[in-house]
């Protein structure tokens, strides 16, 4: 794929992150820090949250956005090292595979948590 297309997808993921990441952080900082921790992270509450549809949708969006952003940038960082062209392509492919595996694994676990 063209680099400019990858950059435009990156811009979309950045917009998603700007919206969903503060929600995620504020939500969890109010939940997990301090005395609320004992109940907020208990098994029952975690599973109850995993069945909450708006929460699940925003988490999946954030997950996809962060995985894309991280893998896009890791690929940049690695290809800035003095490497051969072949190795660089291998790195790009590996970034893609790691990203897809991480996303599919988390997505599968989310579905499992909904069905539990």
């Amino acid at each position: 794929m063209r680099e400019s297309t990858l950059w435009i997808i990156e811009l979309v993921t950045l917009i998603i992150m700007i919206i969903t990441l503060p929600i995620h952080l504020i939500n969890f900082s109010s939940l997990i820090i301090g005395p609320g921790y004992a109940t907020a992270m208990s098994y029952e509450e975690v599973i109850a949250r995993a069945k909450n549809l708006p929460y699940v949708i925003s988490s999946i969006l954030l997950l996809g956005a962060i995985i894309y952003h991280s893998m896009y940038r890791v690929r940049f960082m690695v290809s800035e090292l003095p490497l051969s062209k072949k190795f660089e392509r291998l790195i790009s492919l590996m970034c893609l595979i790691v990203g897809i595996i991480a996303f599919l694994y988390s997505f599968y676990m989310t579905i499992v948590a909904i069905l539990v």
Partner: protein, 278 residues
């Protein structure tokens, strides 16, 4: 004022590794680093290798790292550096030929890759008839980037330049200079090279290229504008511009009534030819 010059020395035919040699010289108020180096070469150590040409910041040959920052030696006054020990090193990220001289062939090859000339679809460049129509504001959009002297300081300052295939600040600035030129038609021809994995998206806006530029070219600005232009074109917000037309031939020109007629000819065609032959 006495100043110690600590100069990077490396002769690939003799030395195994680079070393630093110190020279103590007396300088005046306006002595430039280049003058000091030439003094060292003439009086103290004639084996010192430096590259310079114009001595006035126009040719861009004498780029070197002075106290760690890339600068032109001819434009840098020693007394203004405000330090008694001056460290002189060759530009980083380039292979060293000898002492302070580095090899620029990689950079110039990349500069050639982005086609640094006007590209047009019509045959006006091969068979020129008239001038191109360019507005003053279109001219001032490219003038800043056209002042680049290709001295390679930006390449040395760029933190991403350790990647040898990265196009580099001044090459991308030149790419923007030709893409944004109103007379140019070569957006699609240059797009493949600029949009490659080692093209403009590799710039992370560290801004050091603009800081060290001795001519105010501001390569960082050019690269960000290049990215913006590619993004907006890709999203369909901006159309690929068409090249400026050639000026139409003058028609129906009539002399104003109050402008007097020119005096009669004194040199005739056959007469001029005979003077040329002589």
């Amino acid at each position: 004022m006495e100043v110690v010059f600590k100069i990077h020395r490396f002769d690939p035919s003799k030395d195994v590794s680079p070393y630093y040699k110190q020279y103590k010289i007396t300088i005046d108020k306006g002595t430039t680093v280049l003058e000091a180096l030439l003094y060292i070469k003439e009086r103290l150590d004639n084996s010192l290798a430096i590259r310079y040409s114009c001595r006035m910041g126009i040719c861009g040959s004498c780029g070197m790292r002075i106290n760690g920052i890339p600068m032109l030696a001819c434009k840098t006054q020693v007394s203004m550096l405000k330090s008694n020990i001056i460290l002189i090193e060759p530009l980083s990220n380039n292979p060293i030929i000898k002492d302070l001289v580095t090899n620029f062939s990689n950079l110039f090859a990349k500069h050639k890759m982005i086609k640094p000339y006007i590209i047009r679809k019509d045959s006006e460049l091969d068979n020129p008839t008239r001038e191109y129509l360019q507005k003053p504001n279109e001219f001032f959009n490219i003038l800043q980037f056209a002042l680049c002297i290709k001295c390679g300081l930006c390449w040395s300052a760029c933190p991403i330049s350790s990647d040898n295939r990265y196009l580099g600040p001044f090459v991308l600035a030149q790419a923007y200079r030709y893409i944004s030129d109103s007379r140019d038609d070569g957006y699609n021809e240059r797009f493949d090279i600029i949009d490659s994995p080692h093209g403009c998206w590799r710039c992370h806006f560290a801004g050091s290229c603009s800081q060290v530029c001795p001519r105010g070219v501001d390569p960082a600005l050019a690269i960000q504008l290049l990215k913006k232009s590619i993004t907006t074109t890709k999203l369909g917000l901006k159309k690929i511009k068409t090249a400026a037309p050639v000026a139409p031939p003058l028609t129906e020109v009539t002399r104003k009534l109050d402008v007097p007629q020119p005096p009669p000819r004194t040199v005739f065609k056959n007469q001029r030819d005979s003077t040329n032959e002589r």
